[in-house]
């Protein structure tokens, strides 16, 4: 019956909408709860340090290598395009601005989401599957304070540092290509960069962006892990969701922040 098919479709749409809005509501409540339990993450600094080690220090290799290569590619492509207009000397400012404003926070954020965010989700999801979280609750240990908050803050602290390192390695990569390989003047490279990039607002806005991305990725990672269906399949779905949702969140937030930060100047 066509009428039945129609009700079926409408019901499905309605349920999906209701579920996603409910999920968003729970995520917001979860965010508030994590913030409420955050002092615990700083009371037991050792736990947070451990998470900074796992999500920050262990992400260093991928961040540093990617930064170097992104910078080198920017150097080559940027020089190719700029040199057509005789502006090859402006390579420094081109590379510096794109890294500090956009690529540093965004690419480091995407890498961080896939490298560290997914690991956090998988870890919390597996803890739930193996009933470690339930066991903690039995022992009157709040998993939000003991498991979630340290991972959340570990990510937030790591993210800006990783983004800054990404930018620095990128600038260094562009320096290698531009000055060492192509033979631009060292003074022009650094001088133009320093003349065109201001600490305020360019560098500070990049840092603000990376902190916001850190909050978004960490929240999504711990949330997806915490609400994961406690099965092998559930954990794998949760991990995928973390990567997809964090990446989309980073790109959407980047657009919003850019609109607010750099709307044409003057």
């Amino acid at each position: 019956m066509p009428a039945d098919a129609l009700t079926f479709v409408i019901r499905r749409i309605g349920r999906a909408t209701q579920e996603s809005v409910g999920r968003l509501g729970f995520a917001t409540r979860f965010f508030a709860l994590v913030l409420y339990h955050s002092p615990a993450a700083f009371m037991r600094l050792q736990l947070t340090f451990r998470e900074i080690y796992f999500s920050g220090v262990l992400s260093l290799v991928i961040i540093l290598v990617s930064g170097l290569f992104v910078g080198m590619v920017l150097g080559l492509q940027g020089y190719d395009a700029l040199n057509k207009y005789g502006a090859g000397d402006s390579l420094g400012i081109f590379v510096g601005l794109s890294l500090v404003r956009e690529l540093g926070p965004v690419v480091a954020g995407l890498l961080f989401a896939s490298r560290a965010g997914s690991a956090v989700t998988a870890e919390i999801g597996l803890m739930k599957t193996t009933e470690q979280i339930a066991a903690m609750e039995m022992m009157a240990v709040d998993p939000l304070a003991r498991i979630v908050a340290p991972r959340f803050w570990g990510g937030i602290i790591s993210m800006p540092l990783l983004a800054a390192l990404f930018s620095v390695l990128g600038v260094f990569g562009a320096y290698i290509v531009g000055v060492r390989l192509i033979g631009l003047d060292t003074g022009a490279f650094w001088g133009n960069m320093r003349a065109g990039i201001e600490f305020w607002p360019d560098v500070t806005n990049g840092i603000i962006k990376s902190i916001v991305f850190g909050i978004a990725v960490s929240l999504i990672a711990v949330f997806e892990g915490y609400v994961a269906t406690p099965t092998a399949e559930g954990v794998s779905t949760a991990t995928t969701r973390t990567v997809v949702e964090s990446s989309l969140a980073i790109l959407a937030l980047d657009f919003l922040l850019t609109v607010f930060m750099f709307r044409g100047g003057a």
Partner: protein, 160 residues
């Protein structure tokens, strides 16, 4: 992994991370020019400011001595009033000429200050009265064509 090792690596990570931010601030961005040296304000009214932007440099003899802080349109004079903040260390005489210049053909627009010979100095909030507006390329080309046409016309009249 024992506590000591984790602490060591996290400490190292934080140190090089903060080092990277400092590098971005000092080497990539020019934080050094951000240092808030005490400054005072000068104002100047121009007929046309061309492409002058906020935070554009104010230069004297090519040296950056300040920044453009505010640009507004004065509806009574029908002129653009530019407020600049100039380093306290540099004083300018009352007959200083402020002109809007461009570095190179396509370079950035800046304000050039040429000191005069007056013994009285401009105080905070002082107004520079002698100004020279931006050279608008279209007007310049228009004027050039007009002059050229005029001289050609005269030459024709003489030949007749």
């Amino acid at each position: 992994m024992d506590r000591g090792t984790i602490d060591f690596w996290v400490g190292l990570f934080v140190v090089i991370g903060i080092g990277a931010i400092v590098f971005l601030a000092l080497r990539v961005g020019n934080l050094t020019s951000l240092q808030r040296t005490p400054s005072y304000r000068l104002e100047a009214a121009f007929d046309n400011i061309g492409g002058l932007k906020l935070r554009a440099p104010v230069k004297a003899a090519g040296v950056v001595i300040g920044r453009v802080e505010r640009v507004r349109f004065d509806p009574t004079m029908y002129r653009a009033v530019v407020t600049m903040s100039v380093d306290q260390g540099y004083q300018f005489s009352k007959d200083t000429i402020a002109s809007i210049l461009t570095s190179g053909l396509l370079g950035e627009v800046y304000i050039g200050l040429d000191a005069g010979g007056d013994t009285q100095m401009l105080a905070d909030g002082g107004m520079i009265t002698k100004t020279q507006s931006a050279v608008v390329l279209e007007k310049l080309i228009g004027q050039f064509l007009f002059d050229k046409a005029a001289t050609l016309g005269e030459a024709k009249n003489e030949n007749r």
